[in-house]
Symmetry: C2
Subunit: 117 residues, 2 copies
């Protein structure tokens, strides 16, 4: 009878961050921004990514909405950087989530090849 459970804030936040990370263009941008200690122009990114300017702009908007990047307006450019605070928050969330296993269980049969991965 426990129907209609409320998801915990952690579960909801993992789902939100994961949605932001669910497209290779966005993963690439975050990887680049987190590696290069400085920031990055939209115009630089469009050169190396297989999408047009307006599409890239939407991906950047989504990452900004998710709180993972921030933009500094530096006319006529906009420099994008990692939002370190939320990046650390994401790290904690994922590490906690992925470490939650209490012990190793008995394998459960039927492990298939997964050729598509």
């Amino acid at each position: 009878m426990a129907k209609k459970l409320e998801f915990t804030p952690e579960v909801q936040q993992i789902a939100r961050f994961s949605k932001a990370l669910s497209h290779p263009v966005r993963v690439y941008i975050l990887q680049k921004l987190s590696k290069m200690n400085s920031c990055c122009y939209s115009g630089d990114l469009v050169e190396e990514l297989p999408v047009g300017r307006s599409t890239l702009s939407q991906h950047l908007k989504e990452l900004k909405y998710a709180g993972l990047i921030q933009g500094e307006i530096n006319p006529p450019y906009i420099k994008y950087c990692i939002n370190r605070e939320n990046w650390e928050r994401a790290k904690k969330l994922y590490i906690d989530f992925l470490n939650e296993n209490h012990s190793v269980n008995i394998p459960c049969g039927e492990t298939e090849p997964l050729t598509h991965l």
Copy 2:
């Protein structure tokens, strides 16, 4: 001139795992399965989740496709468990990805409140 970059396998795999993790129902299922060292019936899950049986079945199918769970047929039930091998793989991928920052950079201005998080 470096247009049309190929995404690395790591970037693509993070995007795939993240897609699987981009819905609270699926995050909840993985959290539960990774915590409880044993397995879980679809019928038990439907009791505590705000979706119907057929919808839950689709979410389970997606997690299975992503390689994160596996099902042991134990008629007339199907027991689902974490796929430990790929769960560990995901852990490594995310930890590497989230630790890739080379140093702390100069903050980049324009940090907004993010009330929706």
